[in-house]
Symmetry: C2
Subunit: 152 residues, 2 copies
DNA sequence: TTATATAGTTAAGCACGCTTAAATAAAAAG
DNA sequence: CTTTTTATTTAAGCGTGCTTAACTATATAA
Protein backbone atom coordinates (compact mmCIF):
# COMPACT_ATOMS: atom_id res chain seq x y z
CA UNK A 1 0.00 0.00 0.00
CA UNK A 2 2.66 2.45 1.03
CA UNK A 3 4.71 1.18 -1.88
CA UNK A 4 1.98 2.06 -4.31
CA UNK A 5 1.58 5.59 -3.00
CA UNK A 6 5.29 6.17 -2.97
CA UNK A 7 5.55 4.82 -6.49
CA UNK A 8 2.88 7.17 -7.78
CA UNK A 9 4.48 10.11 -6.10
CA UNK A 10 7.84 9.40 -7.65
CA UNK A 11 6.31 8.90 -11.05
CA UNK A 12 4.41 12.16 -10.81
CA UNK A 13 7.37 14.12 -9.56
CA UNK A 14 9.36 13.06 -12.57
CA UNK A 15 6.52 13.76 -14.94
CA UNK A 16 6.06 17.27 -13.60
CA UNK A 17 9.71 17.94 -14.16
CA UNK A 18 9.68 16.43 -17.58
CA UNK A 19 6.50 18.10 -18.74
CA UNK A 20 7.81 21.49 -17.86
CA UNK A 21 11.04 21.08 -19.79
CA UNK A 22 9.55 19.31 -22.74
CA UNK A 23 6.67 21.67 -23.33
CA UNK A 24 9.04 24.60 -23.62
CA UNK A 25 10.99 22.96 -26.43
CA UNK A 26 7.85 21.81 -28.09
CA UNK A 27 6.01 25.12 -28.25
CA UNK A 28 9.18 26.89 -29.23
CA UNK A 29 9.64 24.60 -32.21
CA UNK A 30 5.98 24.75 -33.22
CA UNK A 31 6.18 28.54 -33.24
CA UNK A 32 9.37 28.56 -35.29
CA UNK A 33 7.76 26.46 -38.01
CA UNK A 34 4.68 28.63 -38.20
CA UNK A 35 2.47 25.65 -37.48
CA UNK A 36 -0.27 25.78 -34.88
CA UNK A 37 -0.56 23.23 -32.13
CA UNK A 38 -3.44 21.29 -33.73
CA UNK A 39 -1.61 21.21 -37.04
CA UNK A 40 1.56 19.94 -35.42
CA UNK A 41 -0.41 17.34 -33.49
CA UNK A 42 -1.94 15.96 -36.66
CA UNK A 43 1.48 15.53 -38.23
CA UNK A 44 2.74 13.83 -35.08
CA UNK A 45 -0.17 11.49 -35.07
CA UNK A 46 0.29 10.59 -38.74
CA UNK A 47 3.93 9.93 -38.00
CA UNK A 48 3.17 7.56 -35.15
CA UNK A 49 0.12 5.74 -36.42
CA UNK A 50 0.65 5.86 -40.15
CA UNK A 51 -1.73 6.91 -42.96
CA UNK A 52 -5.41 7.35 -42.20
CA UNK A 53 -8.53 9.16 -43.36
CA UNK A 54 -10.25 12.37 -42.31
CA UNK A 55 -12.75 10.60 -40.08
CA UNK A 56 -9.99 9.07 -38.00
CA UNK A 57 -8.39 12.47 -37.48
CA UNK A 58 -11.78 13.78 -36.51
CA UNK A 59 -12.30 11.03 -33.93
CA UNK A 60 -8.83 11.10 -32.45
CA UNK A 61 -8.88 14.84 -31.86
CA UNK A 62 -12.53 14.95 -30.95
CA UNK A 63 -13.51 17.58 -33.51
CA UNK A 64 -16.06 17.50 -36.34
CA UNK A 65 -15.12 16.06 -39.72
CA UNK A 66 -15.42 19.58 -41.10
CA UNK A 67 -12.77 20.86 -38.74
CA UNK A 68 -10.49 17.94 -39.54
CA UNK A 69 -10.92 18.51 -43.25
CA UNK A 70 -10.02 22.20 -42.99
CA UNK A 71 -7.01 21.55 -40.80
CA UNK A 72 -5.74 18.83 -43.10
CA UNK A 73 -6.25 21.05 -46.11
CA UNK A 74 -3.87 23.64 -44.70
CA UNK A 75 -1.24 21.00 -44.09
CA UNK A 76 -1.65 19.71 -47.63
CA UNK A 77 -1.26 23.22 -49.02
CA UNK A 78 1.79 23.74 -46.85
CA UNK A 79 3.29 20.62 -48.39
CA UNK A 80 3.52 18.53 -45.24
CA UNK A 81 0.73 16.11 -46.11
CA UNK A 82 -0.38 14.17 -49.17
CA UNK A 83 -4.08 13.61 -49.66
CA UNK A 84 -4.95 10.78 -52.04
CA UNK A 85 -8.09 8.86 -52.78
CA UNK A 86 -8.39 5.64 -50.83
CA UNK A 87 -8.32 2.88 -53.46
CA UNK A 88 -10.45 0.66 -51.22
CA UNK A 89 -13.17 3.26 -50.74
CA UNK A 90 -13.42 6.09 -53.19
CA UNK A 91 -15.31 8.30 -50.76
CA UNK A 92 -12.45 8.27 -48.30
CA UNK A 93 -9.07 9.97 -48.45
CA UNK A 94 -5.74 8.54 -47.52
CA UNK A 95 -3.52 11.00 -45.70
CA UNK A 96 0.21 10.42 -45.56
CA UNK A 97 3.12 12.51 -44.39
CA UNK A 98 5.11 13.96 -47.28
CA UNK A 99 8.90 13.85 -47.27
CA UNK A 100 8.88 17.43 -45.96
CA UNK A 101 6.48 16.38 -43.24
CA UNK A 102 8.74 13.54 -42.14
CA UNK A 103 11.71 15.87 -41.98
CA UNK A 104 9.75 18.38 -39.93
CA UNK A 105 8.65 15.81 -37.40
CA UNK A 106 12.13 14.40 -37.05
CA UNK A 107 13.55 17.83 -36.43
CA UNK A 108 10.79 18.63 -33.96
CA UNK A 109 11.36 15.45 -32.02
CA UNK A 110 15.06 16.11 -32.00
CA UNK A 111 14.52 19.65 -30.72
CA UNK A 112 12.10 18.56 -28.06
CA UNK A 113 14.31 15.87 -26.67
CA UNK A 114 17.74 17.36 -27.05
CA UNK A 115 17.88 18.55 -23.45
CA UNK A 116 17.50 14.97 -22.33
CA UNK A 117 20.84 14.05 -23.84
CA UNK A 118 22.50 16.35 -21.34
CA UNK A 119 20.91 14.30 -18.60
CA UNK A 120 23.25 11.47 -19.44
CA UNK A 121 26.19 13.72 -18.62
CA UNK A 122 25.27 14.16 -14.98
CA UNK A 123 24.67 10.44 -14.42
CA UNK A 124 27.23 7.74 -13.80
CA UNK A 125 27.40 4.68 -16.01
CA UNK A 126 25.67 2.52 -13.41
CA UNK A 127 22.98 5.11 -12.94
CA UNK A 128 22.36 5.29 -16.64
CA UNK A 129 21.97 1.55 -16.76
CA UNK A 130 19.50 1.54 -13.91
CA UNK A 131 17.48 4.27 -15.54
CA UNK A 132 17.53 2.54 -18.89
CA UNK A 133 16.30 -0.67 -17.40
CA UNK A 134 13.56 1.04 -15.44
CA UNK A 135 12.25 3.03 -18.38
CA UNK A 136 12.15 -0.04 -20.56
CA UNK A 137 10.11 -1.67 -17.83
CA UNK A 138 7.77 1.29 -17.77
CA UNK A 139 7.34 1.47 -21.52
CA UNK A 140 6.44 -2.19 -21.65
CA UNK A 141 4.10 -1.74 -18.71
CA UNK A 142 2.15 0.90 -20.63
CA UNK A 143 1.81 -1.41 -23.61
CA UNK A 144 0.63 -4.20 -21.36
CA UNK A 145 -1.85 -1.92 -19.66
CA UNK A 146 -3.31 -0.71 -22.94
CA UNK A 147 -3.68 -4.28 -24.14
CA UNK A 148 -5.68 -5.00 -21.00
CA UNK A 149 -7.85 -1.93 -21.47
CA UNK A 150 -8.70 -2.99 -25.00
CA UNK A 151 -10.02 -6.29 -23.71
CA UNK A 152 -12.31 -4.86 -21.04
CA UNK B 1 29.38 5.99 -26.51
CA UNK B 2 27.05 3.16 -27.29
CA UNK B 3 25.76 3.49 -23.75
CA UNK B 4 24.90 7.12 -24.28
CA UNK B 5 23.01 6.47 -27.49
CA UNK B 6 21.12 3.56 -26.00
CA UNK B 7 20.31 5.64 -22.97
CA UNK B 8 18.88 8.46 -25.07
CA UNK B 9 16.83 6.05 -27.12
CA UNK B 10 15.28 4.48 -24.05
CA UNK B 11 14.54 7.86 -22.54
CA UNK B 12 12.90 9.07 -25.72
CA UNK B 13 10.86 5.94 -26.22
CA UNK B 14 9.39 6.35 -22.78
CA UNK B 15 8.75 10.03 -23.29
CA UNK B 16 6.91 9.40 -26.53
CA UNK B 17 4.69 6.93 -24.78
CA UNK B 18 4.12 9.19 -21.85
CA UNK B 19 3.46 12.32 -23.86
CA UNK B 20 0.80 10.61 -25.87
CA UNK B 21 -1.09 9.36 -22.83
CA UNK B 22 -0.68 12.45 -20.75
CA UNK B 23 -1.72 14.93 -23.39
CA UNK B 24 -5.01 13.16 -23.85
CA UNK B 25 -5.90 13.50 -20.19
CA UNK B 26 -4.74 17.06 -20.15
CA UNK B 27 -6.71 18.37 -23.10
CA UNK B 28 -9.74 16.43 -21.98
CA UNK B 29 -9.68 18.12 -18.62
CA UNK B 30 -9.02 21.56 -20.05
CA UNK B 31 -12.03 21.13 -22.32
CA UNK B 32 -14.25 19.98 -19.47
CA UNK B 33 -13.48 23.09 -17.43
CA UNK B 34 -14.15 25.43 -20.33
CA UNK B 35 -10.66 26.88 -20.03
CA UNK B 36 -8.44 27.33 -23.05
CA UNK B 37 -4.91 26.01 -23.16
CA UNK B 38 -3.23 29.39 -22.54
CA UNK B 39 -5.55 30.09 -19.63
CA UNK B 40 -4.85 26.73 -18.09
CA UNK B 41 -1.14 27.21 -18.59
CA UNK B 42 -1.19 30.49 -16.73
CA UNK B 43 -2.90 28.89 -13.75
CA UNK B 44 -0.38 26.04 -13.82
CA UNK B 45 2.47 28.46 -13.88
CA UNK B 46 1.08 30.49 -10.99
CA UNK B 47 0.67 27.28 -9.06
CA UNK B 48 4.26 26.22 -9.60
CA UNK B 49 6.09 29.52 -9.35
CA UNK B 50 3.85 31.48 -7.03
CA UNK B 51 2.41 35.00 -7.34
CA UNK B 52 3.76 37.35 -9.99
CA UNK B 53 2.86 40.36 -12.13
CA UNK B 54 1.54 40.78 -15.65
CA UNK B 55 4.97 41.42 -17.12
CA UNK B 56 6.26 38.09 -15.89
CA UNK B 57 3.36 36.27 -17.47
CA UNK B 58 4.06 38.17 -20.64
CA UNK B 59 7.73 37.16 -20.64
CA UNK B 60 7.23 33.54 -19.70
CA UNK B 61 4.66 32.91 -22.39
CA UNK B 62 6.36 35.13 -24.91
CA UNK B 63 3.34 37.31 -25.64
CA UNK B 64 2.80 41.07 -25.35
CA UNK B 65 1.79 42.61 -22.05
CA UNK B 66 -1.54 43.44 -23.65
CA UNK B 67 -2.24 39.79 -24.37
CA UNK B 68 -1.20 38.77 -20.86
CA UNK B 69 -3.45 41.41 -19.35
CA UNK B 70 -6.47 40.27 -21.35
CA UNK B 71 -5.89 36.62 -20.58
CA UNK B 72 -5.47 37.30 -16.89
CA UNK B 73 -8.58 39.43 -16.84
CA UNK B 74 -10.67 36.51 -18.02
CA UNK B 75 -9.25 34.29 -15.31
CA UNK B 76 -9.96 36.95 -12.69
CA UNK B 77 -13.54 37.26 -13.89
CA UNK B 78 -13.89 33.48 -13.86
CA UNK B 79 -12.81 33.54 -10.23
CA UNK B 80 -9.62 31.52 -10.56
CA UNK B 81 -7.22 34.41 -10.02
CA UNK B 82 -6.95 37.35 -7.67
CA UNK B 83 -5.46 40.57 -8.97
CA UNK B 84 -4.24 42.94 -6.29
CA UNK B 85 -2.04 46.00 -6.31
CA UNK B 86 1.58 45.27 -5.57
CA UNK B 87 2.32 47.14 -2.31
CA UNK B 88 5.95 47.55 -3.34
CA UNK B 89 5.14 49.14 -6.69
CA UNK B 90 1.73 50.65 -7.20
CA UNK B 91 1.99 50.38 -10.99
CA UNK B 92 2.31 46.62 -10.79
CA UNK B 93 -0.26 43.96 -10.00
CA UNK B 94 0.17 40.88 -7.88
CA UNK B 95 -1.55 37.83 -9.30
CA UNK B 96 -2.35 34.90 -7.04
CA UNK B 97 -4.39 31.75 -7.48
CA UNK B 98 -7.74 31.93 -5.69
CA UNK B 99 -8.99 29.01 -3.65
CA UNK B 100 -11.06 27.93 -6.66
CA UNK B 101 -7.95 28.13 -8.79
CA UNK B 102 -6.00 25.90 -6.45
CA UNK B 103 -8.77 23.33 -6.43
CA UNK B 104 -8.94 23.38 -10.21
CA UNK B 105 -5.24 22.78 -10.63
CA UNK B 106 -5.23 19.99 -8.10
CA UNK B 107 -8.08 18.26 -9.88
CA UNK B 108 -6.41 18.75 -13.24
CA UNK B 109 -3.16 17.27 -12.06
CA UNK B 110 -5.02 14.36 -10.56
CA UNK B 111 -6.91 13.76 -13.81
CA UNK B 112 -3.79 14.01 -15.92
CA UNK B 113 -1.85 11.53 -13.88
CA UNK B 114 -4.50 9.06 -12.86
CA UNK B 115 -3.67 6.64 -15.63
CA UNK B 116 -0.19 6.29 -14.20
CA UNK B 117 -1.55 4.71 -11.04
CA UNK B 118 -2.71 1.77 -13.12
CA UNK B 119 0.88 1.31 -14.20
CA UNK B 120 1.71 0.10 -10.74
CA UNK B 121 -0.76 -2.74 -11.17
CA UNK B 122 1.11 -4.38 -14.02
CA UNK B 123 4.49 -4.15 -12.29
CA UNK B 124 5.87 -6.45 -9.64
CA UNK B 125 7.06 -5.09 -6.32
CA UNK B 126 10.70 -5.36 -7.35
CA UNK B 127 10.00 -3.65 -10.63
CA UNK B 128 8.23 -0.82 -8.89
CA UNK B 129 11.20 -0.35 -6.64
CA UNK B 130 13.61 -0.28 -9.53
CA UNK B 131 11.50 2.26 -11.35
CA UNK B 132 11.10 4.42 -8.26
CA UNK B 133 14.80 4.49 -7.71
CA UNK B 134 15.56 5.30 -11.32
CA UNK B 135 13.03 8.12 -11.55
CA UNK B 136 14.33 9.69 -8.37
CA UNK B 137 17.76 9.57 -9.94
CA UNK B 138 16.42 11.26 -13.06
CA UNK B 139 14.54 13.95 -11.20
CA UNK B 140 17.64 14.86 -9.26
CA UNK B 141 19.69 14.77 -12.42
CA UNK B 142 17.46 17.41 -13.97
CA UNK B 143 17.85 19.65 -10.94
CA UNK B 144 21.60 19.20 -11.07
CA UNK B 145 21.67 19.97 -14.75
CA UNK B 146 19.65 23.15 -14.36
CA UNK B 147 21.93 24.29 -11.57
CA UNK B 148 24.86 23.87 -13.93
CA UNK B 149 23.10 25.74 -16.71
CA UNK B 150 22.46 28.68 -14.44
CA UNK B 151 26.15 28.98 -13.76
CA UNK B 152 27.28 28.99 -17.39
C1' DT C 1 10.68 69.68 -10.82
C1' DT C 2 10.64 67.98 -15.16
C1' DA C 3 11.59 64.28 -18.29
C1' DT C 4 11.69 59.58 -19.21
C1' DA C 5 10.99 54.78 -18.43
C1' DT C 6 8.01 51.12 -16.67
C1' DA C 7 3.47 48.44 -15.49
C1' DG C 8 -0.75 47.72 -16.92
C1' DT C 9 -5.20 48.50 -19.51
C1' DT C 10 -8.25 49.24 -23.48
C1' DA C 11 -9.78 49.16 -28.28
C1' DA C 12 -9.52 47.82 -33.14
C1' DG C 13 -8.52 44.36 -36.14
C1' DC C 14 -6.54 39.96 -37.91
C1' DA C 15 -5.87 34.84 -38.09
C1' DC C 16 -7.21 30.60 -36.49
C1' DG C 17 -9.87 26.64 -34.95
C1' DC C 18 -14.25 25.21 -34.31
C1' DT C 19 -19.29 24.48 -35.17
C1' DT C 20 -23.53 24.00 -37.84
C1' DA C 21 -25.76 23.53 -42.20
C1' DA C 22 -25.88 22.40 -46.87
C1' DA C 23 -23.91 19.90 -50.74
C1' DT C 24 -21.49 16.10 -53.42
C1' DA C 25 -20.22 11.58 -54.23
C1' DA C 26 -19.71 6.82 -53.39
C1' DA C 27 -20.83 2.61 -50.75
C1' DA C 28 -24.26 -0.43 -48.54
C1' DA C 29 -28.89 -1.95 -47.67
C1' DG C 30 -33.56 -2.79 -49.09
C1' DC D 1 -32.68 -0.15 -58.84
C1' DT D 2 -33.99 2.93 -55.27
C1' DT D 3 -33.02 4.43 -50.50
C1' DT D 4 -30.11 5.31 -46.93
C1' DT D 5 -25.79 5.69 -44.75
C1' DT D 6 -20.98 7.12 -44.86
C1' DA D 7 -16.80 10.19 -46.13
C1' DT D 8 -15.60 14.45 -47.21
C1' DT D 9 -15.88 19.31 -48.54
C1' DT D 10 -17.46 24.15 -48.48
C1' DA D 11 -19.41 28.35 -46.55
C1' DA D 12 -21.03 31.32 -42.87
C1' DG D 13 -20.35 32.77 -38.39
C1' DC D 14 -18.60 32.70 -33.53
C1' DG D 15 -15.10 32.93 -29.80
C1' DT D 16 -10.34 33.29 -28.74
C1' DG D 17 -5.66 34.68 -28.62
C1' DC D 18 -2.68 37.71 -30.45
C1' DT D 19 -0.79 42.22 -32.16
C1' DT D 20 -0.33 47.24 -32.57
C1' DA D 21 -1.46 51.75 -30.98
C1' DA D 22 -3.08 54.94 -27.77
C1' DC D 23 -3.67 56.02 -22.89
C1' DT D 24 -3.25 56.21 -17.58
C1' DA D 25 -0.63 55.96 -13.58
C1' DT D 26 3.46 55.29 -10.99
C1' DA D 27 8.43 55.12 -10.46
C1' DT D 28 13.06 56.70 -11.57
C1' DA D 29 16.67 59.88 -13.47
C1' DA D 30 18.28 64.51 -14.86
Amino acid sequence: MIKHTQFSKTLRAWMDTFMHRSMRGWSHFAKSTGLSMPQFSILMQLHHKGPCGISEISERFDVTAAAASQLVDKLVQAGYLERAEDPADRRAKLLTLSAAGEVLISQGTEERYRWMDDLALVLSVEEREKVSEALTLLTHAVEKMEAQNRKS
